[in-house]
Symmetry: C2
Subunit: 386 residues, 2 copies
């Protein structure tokens, strides 16, 4: 298999953005091209990730490629719900690893604020034919993850305080990230006193609805050597998906798709002990409970111990493995298709020691991204190494 | 680069189908699995192509994979407008060629009859932010291709009769294909007397709005040898895309994206003379003029001679290169995402000599698929060899 590296990354400011979809995409593309020292002409393939259900652009790849300068190079759009960005990275990766091209860009862009919050939630809940859950009970994503939180609390004694600590960490990191949607610290009390959205999840347990984009340029080893590019190598690729029928899930205390995707990536990257071999992880914290489950599903701690892992600060700077150092989906924001690529951006910046005030200590120069669509309807894991 | 072959193909009946999206997908998946002699358990990756703008399923990969038995294996959906099926084949192809998996399925499925024709056309016209054309003038796809037809007639003297002959051939072939939407022959007079949709295109110059699905199972050379599978090899892969702003197009007498995609595929497959080296071609005849332009853009004849190529029967059985032997988009039907994979189905069946009454003569055992999205906003070409 040909080796593939990340040679340029870009990320827009996340938040309520009064620009078009294609303008938003260009912010990330422009930064990524400058970061790599490349021009559009040198890129052979553009893969556009966009969920698009919350925008009026039905076929987003066409205007995005046009505006960003990839006419002739953008034959494909990908979608995997909230894991769309990772699906775009994957498509660019396999295009290079297969030998079809040597330089490809993955672009993830989402305009979510074109519709109101109620519509956005309904679209999310309806997405993917989740059978009777949405149609009969009106279940939307806060409710789905509330079921996970309730199950985790009941089985393992996980507390609302422990979940609140995940939000506090996210906001503390996002406060130092100028691209984050929210740049304000919060206290445990603020989180606990915020109104319930779906018990036990409160407003501050939930990621916001954000506009945003991210882009990553990938290159073959040959091209990296030829152009003397600075690369962060993709050592591991893992994916999975799970049943859309919640009644068929084995349990609600974790996401089987996350376990499977991470094990596939670990096997490829020869990771036997993620805590010892990784310096940084970005996990899919669409809700605070999702980050706690991710610690367990990814093997950072044993199943059921995620709440205590957060409480002990093991996922914070100085802990066993700093997680979501740029603020996570929770506080940095979660523009669906941008999220998976923003994770690649974050890990790349960290492994290059370009994270400024949010820099982690590096021993292994290796990091992980974990990106989920739905409640594990899709899952992707990548392992990066500098 | 690892060699990749097509080892199983399936295609549903095209037409107005009173089944759900996932049931429709399963028809093709079931046939493809039986054709390959494989089970769902053996498949490692499922790529679902679905444009989806004409259905109420927002994230179609989830229910399709669930229903078809690919839970855990379906982390990605792709879209490239009417070329979506080819984008799915590409993603399965690069996944295998890269070494990530050995067995993958590409599924293309579309339910187009859930909305009325006017809505369907409006969605099509609006798709991809075609700038002022749609918003100011209400241009939908018949009108776009009418501009191509008018330009071709004006510059090269192409006639409405020549375009009608493309429709007559399509219907004659579809009449022998039990899976075709239309199974009735038509005469030149019928086509010429049908009402104008957008001058010079008449009703019988246009492909219909169809429901349908197709699936193809791809495998690595190692897996093909191991399981002793019957393979049709993918020798060439080509793609391109073009500006969405019609005013920026160099001309209207052809599709630059088709030229570029075919030359990329020809280079990879070492095709210097397509007429001499190919036995069969499936081209994107969403309108009759599109097939005439494809003859030229793909190098079957010189630019401007496509009308005469059709008139002389060169694209018919016994001609220089039989084109769209199963009835084409024009008469077999055009369920967007299914189309590109149905082309792989057709060429595979032909190269295996399983096309029955529609079998072409084989000399080179090599065929081509050509799949366009929009008016060349996307283009894909594959070369297959048995």
């Amino acid at each position: 298999m040909r080796k593939v590296g990340v040679v340029g990354v870009g990320c827009s400011k996340f938040g309520n953005r009064e620009v078009t979809l294609q303008e938003l995409a260009f912010e990330a593309v422009y930064e990524a091209l400058n970061d790599a020292g490349l021009t559009q002409e040198e890129i052979e393939l553009s893969v556009v990730g966009c969920v698009g259900t919350r925008t009026y652009e039905f076929m987003p790849a066409v205007p995005v490629n046009e505006y960003c300068g990839f006419v002739g190079k953008g034959p494909i759009r990908v979608e995997a719900a909230c894991a769309t960005g990772s699906a775009a990275i994957y498509t660019a990766y396999t295009s290079i690893a297969s030998g079809i091209v040597d330089l490809a860009i993955a672009i993830g862009v989402e305009k979510m604020t074109e519709v109101d919050t109620a519509t956005s939630n309904a679209v999310g809940g309806r997405a993917g034919n989740y059978l009777w859950e949405f149609h009969q009970y009106g279940t939307t994503f806060p409710a789905y993850y509330a079921m996970h939180a309730s199950a985790h609390m009941a089985k393992f004694g996980t507390t609302e305080e422990q979940m609140a600590l995940v939000a506090v960490k996210a906001h503390r990191n996002a406060a130092k990230n100028p691209k984050a949607h929210f740049q304000k610290e919060v206290t445990v009390e603020t989180v606990l006193k915020s109104r319930y959205i779906a018990y036990p999840l409160k407003l501050f347990d939930c990621s916001p609805i954000s506009d945003g984009s991210a882009a990553a340029i990938l290159a073959s080893e040959e091209k990296i050597r030829e152009l003397n590019l600075d690369a962060v190598w993709i050592e591991g690729v893992g994916y999975s998906s799970d049943t859309s029928n919640m009644t068929r899930r084995e349990n609600f205390v974790g996401l089987k798709a996350s376990v499977q995707a991470s094990r596939m990536a670990y096997k490829m990257a020869k990771i036997e002990d993620p805590i010892k071999q990784l310096d940084i992880a970005t996990v899919h914290d669409c809700f605070t409970i999702a980050e706690i489950m991710a610690y367990e599903d990814l093997g950072f701690c044993r199943k059921g111990e995620g709440g205590k892992f957060a409480e002990r600060g093991e996922s914070d700077f100085g802990g066993k493995i700093p997680v979501n150092t740029f603020g996570g989906l929770k506080a940095k924001g979660h523009p669906l298709a941008a999220t998976g690529i923003a994770m690649i951006y974050e890990v790349t910046k960290q492994l290059r020691e370009e994270a400024g005030a949010l820099q982690v200590d590096l021993k292994n120069y290796r990091g992980l991204t974990h990106n989920v669509g739905g409640t594990g309807h899709f899952a992707w894991v990548f392992i990066l190494k500098r």
